[in-house]
Amino acid sequence: MSANRQYCTFYLDDIFFGVEVEKVQEVVSYQEMTRVPLAPPVVRGLINLRGQIVTALDLRRRLDMPERPAGRNPVNVVVRADDVPTSLLVDQIGDVLEVSEEAFERPPETLRGPARELIHGAYKLKDRLLLILNMEKVVSVTGEAE
């Protein structure tokens, strides 16, 4: 009998994603951001999280997905990597799911592009796939836009 793991889940469009629950600090509803000129496009802005300044990354842009439809406010999933909190902007938050290790599979070789290194693998749930993100890679965006 293998171990079960817990994932914090969310949606981008209708794709179902998960992040290990230990890496999620908190989920915060949408708030006004301060944009950062000259930053890479994936950086949407800075938010004030109880006095701490946190960079918000647009996960859609990070995964080369189409832009979020106008008028739909994203949700902040605040994750910790290297002890630094970063906010990931997602469309909608899901439940915390417990999944069995046996249902995990690495992505197929046909997965190419930036998503290749960002998606660690998938859990085969009954009715859908839960894509697991490699958090360290997702938050490692550096440098200026050009």
């Binding site: 006004e32 951001m33 301060t34 944009r35 950062v36 000129p37 000259l38 930053a39 890479p40 950086v43 802005g45 800075l46 938010i47 004030n48 006095g51 701490q52 300044i53 946190v54 960079t55 990354l57 630094v84 970063t86 938050v139 965006v141 550096t142 440098g143 200026e144």
Partner: protein, 718 residues
């Protein structure tokens, strides 16, 4: 004697700490008597005490510690095994040491106690499996306590704190400062006196707390200066020179992060002084100087900053050599070279690519040098200056702020967002209205410039550098706002959409995602809770090309040489409340007066003083700006009053303290107009609010100015 006291105090603190540790160690050793490491640590602790008290001449303590040490050495070497009896003996030893230390702490004497029994017991334990006396009484003699328990022991007066915890406290205080700012903004809209009073208290306490917490991060500069004697000695030997180094002001305190930031620049300057400044003994003798060169490092506080002077009595800096070198390197033109005075020439050594060292030594002179020193010092908001007396030596003066965590900043708007500009980079604010705005710009081959007091100031548009769309299109004739900033030696004008206000901001670092953008130095949280970016003025200037090329960094001519073609306005500068600076034009004033507080009388609704034949009504600024803490009547025994007259009537404005009378160009205005404030300018490097005298006086006496009086140059008639 003080030094001796300090040493003893340090010894006591250290020993108490060691003893507390010993208690724990001994008890755990009893359970695990073969723990070699712990035994060694116990041995070391007692050994240290023995060593130090021999040095400080405490013979009794030394004897006791020595006895303990010899027992412990046998235990450590495994010749004896710790048992309960030995443990008790050692604990008794610890108690004896503690009691002697207590005596030393109280009156610098070891006390009259007799500790021979402890020594004997140690010997017996050491010498073997003993038929020890069945029950030795605890041989610590009880001396009557010389002092009652109220004096705080030295060990209790100091505690060690984790730096991480201090950083956290600094952050929390930062949050508190922000919250305080929010409350104060809110206060400005309220008239409830009880609430105002409470927020004033909150304001004061926050300020004091901020100062207190900042102090905890302060470290004496001696921590780095004390490394120089050795370095200088080694350097002098390797250069074949004789150098006597004197260090003064090691106790001067500085924020920990700043201390680390100045370490390298200081090292560089000291090396320079030894390598290039001080001559070889032969050369010195030939010049009639003592063969031994003198180098002094002197740190002290001056005007809220820390100043460090590195002075040598060497050959000084030869301005002619600099002139030639700069010409040779193409840093200046022949024409410029001819016009430059000595002071300007000296500034050339801070240009990149300048090095006068004739031979490249392994010590200094690789072409990287003073420009790096200057850049590093400026990055932390400091300044470097050099003074040379050829043949007699050179002095480099570094000025740095005390702390970086909380800084005053100017808030500006661009593209609808607010940005903070550290005030150390700010020279002045210029506002151009109407005709002036139209005539304001000129272009040199497409590059916008502005004539500031007859000199061309390159203009940089903030929204263009940030590549954002301006929220309000810059319209013809609309007011233009220019913040005149200094990056390196080069002033430039930053065009922004609006100049908001000044605020104390808490500097927070940016995440690694944004570290690569040279335009931002950090971020901060504003009074309304939103995040704003802090501009890195040097990075901005480099990006805009103001200081990018070597050739562009021609030293600016000293302001005294600037042609002052514009008319000047004379301002009376005064302080109001807790440090806020304000100014009014001298031309509006009739007189400056000082009255004893006792002369102030009260009529039904007004304070007045008898003024010649008249009764002079007084208006207090606190009535106009209730949110600022006014200097109350009770606080000082006299009041300073600005007297204004119109149509034969006078009115007195009570201000905090008159500071100075300054001249300023009449077109260098302004920040945002607020109630009672016409705008803000930078005077004497401080942001100063220009009081809207007419509005203030009219509020007090609506009929005072019956005819409009031109108040501020540039103000359009109401």
């Amino acid at each position: 004697m003080d030094d001796q006291d300090d040493i003893v105090r340090e010894f006591l603190v250290e020993s108490y700490e060691n003893l507390d540790q010993l208690d724990c160690d001994l008890v755990s050793l009893e359970k695990n008597p073969r723990d070699r490491e712990r035994l060694a640590s116990v041995f070391r602790a007692i050994h240290t005490i023995k060593g130090t008290c021999g040095f400080l001449a405490f013979p009794k303590l030394e004897a006791v510690a020595h006895a303990g040490e010899s027992l412990l050495s046998r235990l450590r070497d495994g010749q004896l095994l710790l048992n309960a009896e030995i443990t008790s003996g050692l604990l008794a030893l610890v108690d004896a040491v503690r009691s002697i230390l207590k005596n030393i702490e109280n009156d610098r004497q070891e006390g009259r106690g007799d500790y021979a029994a402890v020594v004997v017991r140690m010997m017996q334990l050491r010498d073997g499996p003993c038929e020890a006396p069945a029950a030795l009484p605890t041989p610590v003699p009880e001396e009557p306590l010389a002092h009652d328990g109220q004096t705080v022991g030295v060990a209790d007066a100091n505690i060690r704190v984790d730096v991480g915890l201090l950083d956290k406290l600094v952050n929390l205080v930062g949050e508190l400062v922000l919250a305080r700012n929010q409350v104060l903004q809110f206060t400005a809209t309220r008239r409830d006196p009880a609430f105002l009073h409470t927020t004033q208290r909150l304001n004061q306490i926050t300020t004091e707390l901020q100062e207190g917490v900042m102090k905890t991060r302060m470290q004496p500069i001696g921590n780095i200066l004390n490394k120089f004697p050795r370095q200088v000695r080694d350097l002098a030997v390797s250069c074949g020179k004789q150098v006597l180094l004197t260090v003064e002001g090691e106790e001067t305190e500085l924020d920990k992060t700043l201390l680390e930031a100045i370490k390298d620049p200081l090292t560089h300057l000291v090396r320079n002084a030894v390598d290039h400044g001080i001559e070889s003994p032969e050369e010195r003798r030939a010049a009639g100087k003592p063969p031994e060169g003198r180098l002094s490092l002197h740190a002290f506080h001056e005007g809220g900053q820390v100043v460090i002077e590195i002075a040598d009595d060497g050959r000084g800096i030869d301005p002619e050599r600099i002139r030639n070198k700069a010409l040779e390197r193409g840093l200046i033109t022949r024409d410029q070279a001819g016009r430059m005075v000595e002071r300007e020439l000296l500034q050339l050594i801070f240009l990149p690519g300048f090095s006068t060292a004739e031979k490249v030594t392994n010590v200094s002179g690789r072409g990287v040098g003073m420009d790096v020193v200057k850049t590093n010092i400026e990055r932390i908001g400091g300044a470097v200056d050099v003074v040379s007396r050829p043949g007699q030596g050179a002095t480099v003066k570094i000025k740095i702020p005390l702390t970086l965590a909380i800084i005053p900043a100017l808030i500006v708007t661009s593209g609808g967002d607010r940005y903070a500009i550290p005030q150390v980079n700010l020279l002045e604010l210029v506002r151009l209205d109407g005709e002036k705005a139209k005539r304001g710009f000129e272009h040199i081959h497409g590059v916008p410039v502005y004539r500031l007091r007859g000199k061309l100031l390159p203009l940089v548009f903030l929204h263009k550098e940030l590549r954002v769309e301006p929220a309000t299109p810059v319209s013809e004739g609309g007011p233009l706002h220019v913040a005149v900033l200094q990056a390196g030696d080069r002033p430039f004008g930053l065009m922004v959409e609006a100049i908001n206000d000044t605020e104390e901001i808490v500097v927070k670092p940016l995440s690694k995602h944004l570290k690569g953008i040279p335009l931002f130095a950090g971020a901060t949280i504003m009074g309304d809770g939103r995040v704003s970016l802090i501009l890195d003025v040097l990075g901005l200037a480099q990006r805009a090309g103001v200081v990018s090329e070597v050739r562009a960094r021609k030293p600016a001519e000293p302001p005294a040489l600037a042609v002052n073609s514009r008319p000047v306005q004379v301002l009376v500068l005064f302080r109001f409340g807790d440090g806020r600076r304000m100014a009014v034009p001298l031309s509006l004033l009739t007189r400056l007066e000082e009255f004893p507080s006792a002369a102030v009388e009260k009529t039904a609704s007004q304070e007045v003083v008898q003024y010649g034949e008249q009764i002079l009504p007084l208006v207090r600024l606190e009535q106009v700006f209730p949110s600022a803490t006014g200097e109350t009547l009770a606080a000082s025994d006299s009041v300073q009053v600005l007297v204004f007259s119109a149509h034969g009537r006078s009115i007195g404005l009570v201000v905090g303290r008159i500071l100075d009378i300054v001249e300023t160009a009449d077109d260098m205005q302004l920040g945002t107009r607020r109630e009672g404030i016409f705008g803000s300018v930078v005077l004497q490097q401080r942001v100063t609010d220009l009081l809207d005298v007419r509005a203030v006086l009219r509020a007090a006496d609506p009929t005072f100015f019956e005819q409009p009086v031109a108040q501020w140059a540039g103000e359009r008639p109401a």
